[in-house]
Each structure stands twice: as structure tokens, then as C-alpha cells.
């Protein structure tokens, strides 16, 4: 009897093992359909820089290492992440050595070598190429390839966080054989390569219709056996966030819908459709109000308006800025605008956790405190409830881009500010104008012809150095720079500039974190130059039958598409 039992069990076990083996076959789950409401225009991320293009391309071309959902580096095409400890980074922080994993092949069957990696840098650094990611390769002196599996990157200055070149979705490796004739000005002539790059990723492009749809099939030469589970991919682009949400959660036509920027109530309603589930995760994106430190008054001559020559007549006073921040009801903003995909925030750098300053002072609205501050600043309540000082009304213009949530925010904040006696004039501008760098346009966010403005920004990867050094005096947009520059507020502090330089020279992680926190605090709670509102998460949705999805805000959302499968 027991023998029989053993036999039966063994048979059962082997049957399980067999089905297990069967289940591991590549392409076993048929088709997966992904929808992005912004349609990919090109699959060469170096020529575009748009998120939609980077993420769709990330299924095909891969970097040496990616960030996972916790913001930790994971080796993809290499054996390990180079560090000071394992000798991958030299003690002077000037040389980084990546060891490519042996046996990796391009989807056309040729071996993946260090020459491809070096070529990728050459391609992007070509002065006439207009490469959108050239900042990732800043500071590189030269790249050596002593053997097909070793890449040695030499920096001209010490580089303490050298995880930007060839790391993350923005900086994948392209194949030298395919792109070597496409350098510089010739880049747009290589349409076939730009629309169908050969990669090492889990999928291969079979057809690409720009601004519309991509079809892909499983890469037969993918390095992991049994992956990807899907044989084909249809990647549809275009429409609206609403249409994508509907297609995933209500009609079930698609398996994955990207970045559903919709009101929380709309998403909840869609989720009732029962075909899909919304998922959310947080990254570094902070919706904020920027205070203009310079005078944007139209009475000033062009060329002096909104420049450091004329400090802002109202907002130069730190007390006024602080009062404006205190009056804002952040929890209400989150509830109305983002729901589970938002958290009230007081920090510019709110993640990763190691860089997050302990700054929670702004979370609770304090109308009385704000009023008191304005009184102290000399702004006395006027007859119509609007404060005045020296016969001048406390009136601010407040601009942002056109977007349903942002207009809701404007309305709420206008009310909050009215409660403390501040009158606000609202304005919204089309995103393509507001975020466009046209120096002739008076309506760009860089020119900042308004008292305060609102938008969101984030940083790539997990190190905020470049993000924080945007606020040095020399980065202020002004006529001499053609109104280009990232220091939108025209914040200028000698101490901050000094800290920025120091951050660039500091390698020790603990010291870097302390410096970053200090800089964050200087911009936010100490000076209220930047008034963070909401830590904006990402909401996407996947079909209930789609397994393996891990939402990642640190890298491409499709970073682990090789692991996606159909739930049985």
C-alpha cells in the first residue's frame, strides 16, 4: 500500500514537474496588449527623450543596469554593479569598470560586446547628433575596451555617483553594427534603425507605425530561458488617459495602461468595471509652487523684467512666502487631485528615503499663523478683505499649465489665500507653450512673467545632485542665457552655491545625504522659495489576468516586462 502511495506521489510530482517545465516555455502566453495614451514616435531613446519613447524602447534595448522598484541598482547586462568596495570604482573615483556578462547576444544572434557600449557613448556624444541624453555622459573623458567583456569609463573629474551613463531606461546600449553609419547629422537618415533598433531585451520589433502602434515578438536570443512568457506584444499609443483606463479596466481590450492621470473618483469608477486593477507607486515627482524672487511687472522694460535687477516687491519678504505656504490645505489638494496616488509633501527631495529631510511643518494648514505673519510683515487687512501695505494691494498672479487637476489646485489655493487676505489672479497656459523653451514667448515657465507658478518636476535615478545644483545663481534664466536655465525662481544664495560645489566633491554617502538634506531645507522650509505641495505617485492599471507587473517609478515602467505572464 505504502509503495503504491509512493509511486502515485512520485507520478504526481513528476507530472507537476513536467507541467512546470512546459509552463516555462518562451512565448507560452500568446499576446499581451499595452496602451500608452501618448504614442511613441521613435524607438531610439537618444533621439527623442520623451517618456513614451524611452519606455516603449525599454522592451527592446537595455542598459547595463537598471533601478528596481525600491530604487536599488540591479545588474542587467553585467555581472555586478561596480562599487568602491568591489573595486569596480577606483579610489580616486575617476575610473569605473563594468564587466559584461559572458554569452549575451543581440536579438540578431551576434555577440554583445564592450564595443557596442563604447559606441553608444560615441553616438550620443556626437556634437551634431542632438542626442537627448547627452547629459548622462557628462564628465566622461574616454571609454576603454581592453577586451570584449570589459568597459572602462574614465572621468576627467572624480565622479562620485557614476550611475548615469548606461544605467536606467534613458541610457540603453544600441548596437554598433546597426548604428555606425548613423552618427551626428546622419542620425535622422537611419529611419529603419530608429524605428526598429536591435536590442538585447525580451522583445524584438516586428513593425513600427510612428505615433500609433508597435508590434513585437519574443526575442529568441534573450538571455533568460523561458522568458518572456508572451510571444507577441501590441503596443498601442494615443488617445487619452481616460480612454486607456477604460480599455484596461472597463472593456478589457488591453492588458496594461500607462500613467492614468485622472481624478481619483474617475479611476475608482473605472475599477468597478472589474476587468483590471489600478496600481500606484511613488518616485521623486513633486508638484510645487515656485515663488518668483524677481519682479515680473510688465511696467519694467523687456530685458529687465523678471531679472535679478529687480527683486520681487512682495515675495522678496520671506514672511509673506511662509504665510502663503502655511495657508495651503495640502491634504485637501491630495484628496481632490490624486487620491491614493498622492501624498502631501514639504520636501523638494522627498525620496529616496535616505535623502529625505525630516520636514513635516507644512502638512497642517495654519490660517491663523499665516495671518499673523502677514501682519508682522506689515500687510494690514484692507476694507475689501484684501491686505494692503503702503497703498498697495496684496495681489498675486498665479500661472500653471492647462490640466484639469492643476486648475482644481489653483481654485483651492486661491480660496486658501483669500482666507488670509491675499488676492490671486489665475492663469493657465497650454503645456506645449508653458514648458516650451521659446525665448520669444512671454508665457514660458522659464521666463516666469508671473508672481508664482505651479508645475511638477523630478530627477532621474536615485541621486539628487544634479537636481539640487539647478538652484545655483548662475542657472537662473535671464536674457543673457536666452531665458534658458533651471533655477526658475532666480534663487540666489552664496551659501547654497558653496554647498552645491561641495556636494559635487563629496563621495561619502552619509555626507552626501546630509548635504542634500541641508540644500533641500534651504530651498523649502528655511526660505520657502519652493513650496512643495504633493508627492505625486504614478497610477497605472493592469488587467486582472496579467501577472508579474511591478510598478517602478525609478526606471522604465516596463522594466520587468520579461517577467510578465498570463495568470492561469
Amino acid at each position: 500500500m505504502s509503495k503504491l502511495k509512493t509511486l502515485l506521489l512520485a507520478t504526481a510530482a513528476s507530472a507537476v514537474a513536467l507541467t512546470g517545465a512546459f509552463a516555462q516555455e518562451r512565448g507560452r502566453d500568446g499576446e499581451v496588449k499595452i496602451i500608452y495614451w501618448q504614442a511613441p514616435s521613435i524607438l531610439n531613446p537618444y533621439l527623442s527623450g520623451g517618456t513614451k519613447d524611452i519606455e516603449s524602447a525599454s522592451m527592446v534595448v537595455e542598459p547595463l543596469a537598471r533601478f528596481n522598484q525600491d530604487g536599488e541598482l540591479v545588474p542587467y547586462l553585467v555581472d555586478s554593479i561596480p562599487t568602491l568596495e568591489n573595486g569596480g570604482i577606483t579610489a580616486d573615483n575617476k575610473t569605473v569598470t563594468w564587466k559584461i556578462t559572458d554569452g549575451i547576444k543581440w536579438s540578431d544572434g551576434t555577440p554583445f560586446t564592450s564595443a557596442d557600449v563604447a559606441f553608444t557613448a560615441e553616438y550620443c556624444r556626437h556634437p551634431e547628433g542632438g542626442c537627448a541624453q547627452s547629459a548622462k555622459f557628462d564628465g566622461i573623458d574616454k571609454i576603454e575596451t581592453p577586451d570584449p567583456l570589459t568597459v572602462i569609463i574614465k572621468y576627467s573629474e572624480p565622479k562620485y555617483v557614476p550611475y548615469s551613463a548606461f544605467v536606467g531606461g534613458q541610457s540603453p546600449i544600441i548596437q554598433k553594427a546597426q548604428f555606425q553609419e548613423c552618427l551626428g547629422a546622419k542620425a535622422p537618415e537611419c529611419t529603419d534603425a530608429n524605428f526598429g533598433p536591435i536590442g538585447t531585451g525580451p522583445f524584438v520589433v516586428t513593425s513600427f507605425k510612428p505615433n500609433d502602434v508597435i508590434t513585437m515578438k519574443a526575442n529568441e536570443n534573450y538571455r533568460e530561458a523561458g522568458k518572456p512568457a508572451f510571444a507577441t506584444v501590441t503596443f498601442k499609443g494615443g488617445g487619452s488617459a481616460e480612454a486607456s483606463g477604460r480599455a484596461v479596466m472597463e472593456t478589457g481590450e488591453f492588458d496594461y495602461g500607462w500613467n492614468l492621470q485622472l481624478a481619483p473618483s474617475v479611476i475608482q469608477e473605472m475599477a468597478k468595471g472589474g476587468k483590471g486593477t489600478p496600481i500606484s507607486a511613488f518616485g521623486t515627482l513633486i508638484e510645487r509652487i515656485e515663488m518668483n524672487m524677481t519682479d515680473p511687472s510688465p511696467s519694467l522694460p523687456e530685458g529687465e523684467r523678471a531679472t535679478a535687477k529687480h527683486p520681487h516687491p512682495i515675495l522678496s519678504d520671506e514672511k509673506v512666502r511662509r504665510a502663503l505656504s502655511m495657508a495651503i490645505d495640502r491634504p485637501l489638494l491630495v484628496e481632490i487631485g490624486y487620491g491614493q496616488a498622492g501624498r502631501p509633501a514639504c520636501n523638494l527631495v522627498n525620496a529616496p528615503i535616505a535623502y529625505k529631510s525630516d520636514n513635516t511643518g507644512c502638512l497642517v494648514q495654519d490660517i491663523e499663523g499665516a495671518k499673523k505673519l502677514l501682519d508682522e510683515a506689515g500687510w494690514a487687512p484692507g476694507g475689501d478683505g484684501i491686505r494692503e501695505k503702503d497703498g498697495k494691494k496684496l495681489k498675486l498672479s498665479y500661472q500653471t499649465s492647462t490640466n484639469a487637476v492643476r486648475q482644481d489646485f489653483q481654485a483651492i489655493i486661491k480660496q486658501n489665500w483669500k482666507d488670509i487676505g491675499v488676492d490671486t489672479e489665475l492663469r493657465n497656459l497650454s503645456g506645449s507653450v508653458f514648458f516650451g523653451g521659446d525665448p520669444a514667448s512671454p508665457d514660458t515657465f522659464q521666463k516666469f512673467y508671473a508672481d508664482v507658478e505651479m508645475y511638477a518636476n523630478n530627477f532621474d535615478g536615485t541621486d539628487p545632485e544634479q537636481y539640487l545644483t539647478q538652484y545655483t545663481c548662475d542657472k537662473a534664466p535671464r536674457p543673457e542665457t536666452g531665458w534658458q536655465g533651471e533655477n526658475i525662481n532666480r534663487y540666489c544664495s552664496a551659501e547654497y552655491d558653496k554647498l552645491a560645489v561641495e556636494l559635487g566633491r563629496t563621495g561619502d554617502p552619509a555626507k552626501r545625504q546630509a548635504l542634500a538634506k541641508k540644500m533641500n531645507d534651504m530651498l523649502t522650509k528655511d526660505s520657502m522659495t519652493i513650496v512643495p505641495l504633493v508627492d505625486r505617485g504614478r497610477v497605472s492599471a493592469h488587467a486582472n489576468s496579467l501577472g508579474g507587473v511591478v510598478l517602478n517609478t525609478w526606471d522604465s515602467e516596463l522594466w520587468n516586462v520579461a517577467d510578465w505572464h498570463r495568470k492561469k
Binding site: 527623450g49 541624453q133 494615443g238
Partner: protein, 334 residues
């Protein structure tokens, strides 16, 4: 007639040149930036390099003439090389900012879908409108006429982006009959795939057809009404012709003259209506290309697609005029 047509065609050239210059000026003077949609993480210096590599910073006039040269010299050469195997030297082709690929290739790729959806909807619209117009006029102020007028007013005044979304909500979300997103990779190869193609075309086609039918049926009705009271109709009846012959042969033929020209004149504007419908249903046609190009600050694509629309309008105006002469012997141009 031939000399008239030739004269008109020649006159069209300066008209189109002027139109394209004005369009170009409007696009370039509006604050647009091909890098506006890029993430803010890309620094301004890099953005400037991107704009430079696209030729965005060249002087206005240089850009316009480069575009013109590419459209009338370079692209025809490319076409000749592909069609006849000639080997002309080809310079820089017209490149789209968004896709970094030749603009004309994008347009060629998208024309079939627009023609299919817009063409079908127009034919369907005319087929619905003409009988409704005839019956409405013949039975003026009847219940049929009132209902026809009501539906025409709805079709005329409710925009397609509203009817489109309404139809999606009703037929896709609630009933689940039709797909809400047009499958642009679908290939018709057998009976069932043809059925699917019909299914996915129904909603966009009907939305546009309703819009077109509304307009044409009103023209048809009023034109019929004008003719029904004419003396020749009374004569025809007096001769003892049947009502059917009077209405469908005598009146209809005469009433069609203005309607045909309206149909021809309206055809280009249908492409305009398709802009929005294509966006709602995500049909990958010219309209969607134009909208995405506008959003992306893609000057060469916007310019070329708009000029193509201008060409269509000028061309269909000419066709309408010529048709008028063909249909109505009283009108002569020479």
C-alpha cells in the same frame, strides 16, 4: 471648359504658395517648441542642441524655402526613384521633428485609413441624406419631416467628440458590441477578419456620417423645395406623368445640381471633422497625425499636412465649379 480648368489650375499655384507661406508664418510665430514635451530632467543646454540639430533655429525664410524645396523638388525625386527606378541625387529629405523620419512617408502611411473611414462615412452620409432630403421636402411639415429636421439639427449641432464618446460609452462599455479603440494593425484576410474590420469601423464611420448627413439632407430638402414649386413641375404633372417620375426624374435631377457641388465642396472639410473623430477612436489617419504633430511642435509635419488640406480645398473647389458646368447646361465658363 478645358481652357477654363487649365487657367484655374495655373491660378491655384500662387494661391497655394501664398497659403503655405501664411500657414508657415502662423506656425512659426506661435510659441511652439519641439522639446516642450520632453521631461524636465533634460537640461536646457541639451534642449538647445536638439533644437539646433533639427534646424529649428535657422532664420524663418531659410526654413520656409528649405521646406518648399523639399516638398516640390526632393520628395518628387524620391518618388520617381521609387516608382521608376531612376537614380536622382537626393538631398536631405523633409524630416519630422517627432519621429526623425521623412514626413511624406508618415503621410503616405496614414492616407489609406483616413480615406477608408472618411470616404465610407461620406458615402454613407450621402446615402442617408439624399432620401431623407427628398421625402422631407415632398412631405413638408409631416411627422417624417419634423423628425428628419430634429435629427439633422442634432447631427449638425452636437460635435463629433461628444457623439463619439457617447457611442463608445453605450456600445463599447455598456453593450460590449464594438471595440472602443481602433485596431490599426488589423489585416483583412478572410470573412471573419472582414467582419471585425466592419465592426471596428462602424462607430467612427457612423459618427462622421451623422454629421455629414445632417448637413447634406438640409441642402437636399431646401433644393427640392425650391424646385417642387416651379412651373416645369406643374407642366410635368399636367402632362400626366406619374408622381414618381415627376419627383425622382424631373425634380430630383434639377435639385441635385446645387447638392452635388455642396458635396464636392464639403469633402475637404470632412477631413477636418475626421481630425477629432480619429482622435476619439484612435484611428491612425491624417487627422490624428496632425493633432499629435501640433502637440509635439513638429513644424514640418504640421505644415505639410495643413498644406495638403489646402490643396484638397482648392482642388475640390475647382471640381465643384467644373461639375456645376457639366450638370447645368445654362452655366458656361468660356
Amino acid at each position: 471648359m478645358l481652357t477654363y480648368t487649365i487657367r484655374r489650375l495655373l491660378l491655384a499655384i500662387p494661391t497655394l504658395l501664398f497659403i503655405s507661406f501664411v500657414i508657415f508664418a502662423v506656425i512659426k510665430l506661435s510659441p511652439s517648441d519641439p522639446t516642450a514635451n520632453l521631461p524636465l530632467t533634460i537640461p536646457p543646454e541639451v534642449r538647445e542642441k536638439i533644437r539646433e540639430s533639427l534646424g529649428f533655429n535657422e532664420p524663418f525664410i531659410v526654413q520656409f524655402f528649405l521646406w518648399l524645396k523639399q516638398l516640390v523638388v526632393t520628395e518628387p525625386k524620391v518618388w520617381m526613384n521609387n516608382a521608376f527606378g531612376t537614380e536622382f541625387e537626393i538631398g536631405q529629405r523633409m524630416i519630422s521633428y517627432q519621429t526623425r523620419s521623412p514626413v511624406l512617408d508618415l503621410i503616405v502611411q496614414r492616407i489609406p485609413q483616413t480615406l477608408w473611414v472618411v470616404g465610407t462615412s461620406y458615402v454613407v452620409g450621402v446615402l442617408i441624406a439624399v432620401p431623407i432630403g427628398i421625402i422631407s421636402a415632398y412631405k413638408q411639415y409631416s411627422v417624417f419631416d419634423q423628425i428628419g429636421t430634429f435629427i439633422a439639427m442634432i447631427g449638425f449641432s452636437v460635435p463629433t467628440f461628444f457623439t463619439g464618446v457617447l457611442m463608445i460609452l453605450f456600445f463599447s462599455v455598456n453593450l460590449g458590441w464594438f471595440p472602443s479603440i481602433y485596431d490599426t494593425t488589423h489585416v483583412v484576410e478572410d470573412w471573419s477578419s472582414f467582419l471585425f474590420q466592419v465592426k471596428q469601423m462602424i462607430m467612427p464611420t457612423m459618427v462622421l456620417a451623422l454629421f455629414n448627413a445632417a448637413q447634406i439632407s438640409r441642402y437636399m430638402r431646401s433644393s427640392m423645395l425650391d424646385n417642387l414649386t416651379q412651373d416645369y413641375v406643374r407642366t410635368a404633372r399636367a402632362k400626366g406623368l406619374t408622381e414618381k417620375t415627376v419627383v425622382l426624374v424631373h425634380v430630383l435631377r434639377n435639385s441635385m445640381i446645387p447638392v452635388v457641388t455642396v458635396i464636392a465642396l464639403n469633402l475637404p472639410s470632412v477631413f477636418g471633422g475626421a481630425l477629432i473623430t480619429e482622435q476619439v477612436f484612435q484611428v491612425n489617419g491624417l487627422g490624428q497625425l496632425l493633432i499629435l504633430a501640433i502637440q509635439g511642435g513638429d513644424v514640418p509635419t504640421v505644415q505639410t499636412v495643413t498644406v495638403i488640406f489646402a490643396v484638397l480645398i482648392v482642388l475640390f473647389n475647382l471640381i465643384a465649379d467644373v461639375l456645376y458646368g457639366v450638370l447645368d447646361p445654362r452655366i458656361r465658363y468660356d
